[in-house]
Symmetry: C2
Subunit: 414 residues, 2 copies
Amino acid sequence: MNHERAAAALDAADPLAAYRERFVGTDTDLVYFDGNSLGRPLKASAETLAGFVGGEWGDRLIRGWDEGWMDLPLTVGDDLGRVVLGAAPGQVTIGDSTTVLLYKAMRAAVAARPDRTEIVLDRDNFPTDRYVAAGIAKECGLTLRWIDVDPAGGVTVDQVAEVVGERTALVVLSHVAYRSAWIADGPAITALVHEAGALVLWDLSHSGGSVPLALDDWGADLAVGCTYKYLNGGPGSPAFAYVAARHLPVLDQPIPGWIGHADPFSMSEVHEPAAGVRRVLSGTPPVLGLHALSIALERFDGVAATELRRHSLALTDRCIERADALGLEVVTPRGHDDRGSQVSIRHPEAWAVVQALIDLGVVGDHRPPDLIRFGFPPLYLRLEEVDEAMTRLAEVLQSGAWKRWRGAERPTVL
Amino acid sequence: MNHERAAAALDAADPLAAYRERFVGTDTDLVYFDGNSLGRPLKASAETLAGFVGGEWGDRLIRGWDEGWMDLPLTVGDDLGRVVLGAAPGQVTIGDSTTVLLYKAMRAAVAARPDRTEIVLDRDNFPTDRYVAAGIAKECGLTLRWIDVDPAGGVTVDQVAEVVGERTALVVLSHVAYRSAWIADGPAITALVHEAGALVLWDLSHSGGSVPLALDDWGADLAVGCTYKYLNGGPGSPAFAYVAARHLPVLDQPIPGWIGHADPFSMSEVHEPAAGVRRVLSGTPPVLGLHALSIALERFDGVAATELRRHSLALTDRCIERADALGLEVVTPRGHDDRGSQVSIRHPEAWAVVQALIDLGVVGDHRPPDLIRFGFPPLYLRLEEVDEAMTRLAEVLQSGAWKRWRGAERPTVL
């Protein structure tokens, strides 16, 4: 009880508290711990999208392309670079799905190291990253070199040091691991890979909007990530790609569309890639999705990354503390430096427990075979909700309410 | 004057007249002849998108994926197949840009004909189609075999017959040519390509929603197209791909993401493609864009393709008749069977003329070097607007109003 009062007092005093009410649904009783999978919308998003359809699209019509749409992938990309990624202008673009951008980035990277034969990645990387890398290895005649990862951790600097060398073309890593929330050491691993003469591609899907990033300072080469988790762009919103300025002049990506052409409306015979990061683009920019993302990004503007980080750690600390008190096995790293904005708990009936929690108004998710995942978008979650969720978790475990879900038919996602 | 009264009377009696008011902006004086580049939004789109943000996304959150989003690319794809493409269920999917889908479809096609060495296409095909084909030819060690096209026409059956043979892996053609609006003979060319043992990929970007399509009846193999022209999905809305059911079991596309996996949330080690057309998907479906498209598609439901076609031909007939009367050179074919829903007029100062027309409230567009393009989405255009536009065109040419645009700085698009 004292604990709960303390949470309420801390929440009230939190400098980020005012942001919460800008999101749809934060005035309901639902405890939403799956913003690491799909973030909540901003209230401004509904209004602005309706206004866009009637206004910019409906009124300006084709003229909209000359009045800003054509550059949206780059202007919103620059905003994302400044506010979230730690990237100077001209290196970020938005469009396609994360999968397609992973494909383009990996192909571009291996093309830039034509005499090398290996792609390094870890067995716990997100499935799409592994599938795309495997496909490219097959089509380009390369070998995959796997790093085995401690399931309660992630890829370490030492592990990377062990495998990179003169055969390495590319290292593909998630910055924050989707299962354990382990944070890989961005700057140290980047430096190490560069010493071996290779390139590194960072998947930032679980990082952007939740942990501090400084791609330019790391000396990063390539990065991609999704925008519908901690960045609140909406289900299936367009992904982003970062290409360090030094690589742009020679970046050769495999899907050359007219929008990435130096002069798109020349309709010329041969594709001449645009100067700069526009050459990453293939098809017509998804303006609706770019608008939704742009609105969502505005909310991060002016919020210090250190503030987000402080609150994120307060949330995950509190969750881990409560899980410890319940005698649960926490998989997420305990060290602040190693932990993203998520807590994963191992339980042999993880899926059933998550369903029983949803029945009680606490939405987390499950990753096979045995992880309960709670994600903590720091802009709209409160410490009180951690207490509420962990109290419900204790109830579910104590009452055995999860047992009625054993053997139930599973939907695809949750 | 009699002519204009006749137009008003015909418009009033048109069975499609009631559809016009469902679109944003049709109550203004703007004559919008660029719906072949970006279609007008439906009034329902603004409202439904705002409702989606607050409701399905904001309230259901991650649960939305199990409540329909996961299947949206296929359910909206089936709708598109039924209402527009002439395709039985299970063969159409929506997602990615047209460019990315062209890449996947072409790669899949050449992989299905591994012993063949040529891709056939025409020099007047849309730039992206040519760029993607050239890129794939280079990466797969294939040769491009070009068809030269009469600029006032398009690819004929005889021309295809001349070049296809035992070396042909794939023929890539636009069904309706973006410059002249020539309609290629879908069924005849498909049959001819099949006789040669090759596959054909149809780009339907300028066909879908404007001319009758019957992909299953044609025996088509693969098709892709965009949804923001005559299908009113919004700027950069997601594209569609059709894969004939007989090809699906062996379809091997190069960007294997988790969403195209047989069991996405198994997060398994090796990518196993989903059965059916889901295997075309790579990344997370763009739900916002799919919703906008779904709303737009509803408007076609119940409209007979023959009605659309009848009105489209009435519009283009009238435009050509007026252009003839002005002594202008019409590039678009005169035969009804050969003409899409667009009229292109050659003029050495096409760009300047288009700008001067926009000044007078008539929005068409320009394609280099010398084409004025007027597009006629049959669901929301009236014969009166054709008269209005052609009267303004006559004024612009007579007054020389276009001359002030000569040498002006050109924006990117219009």
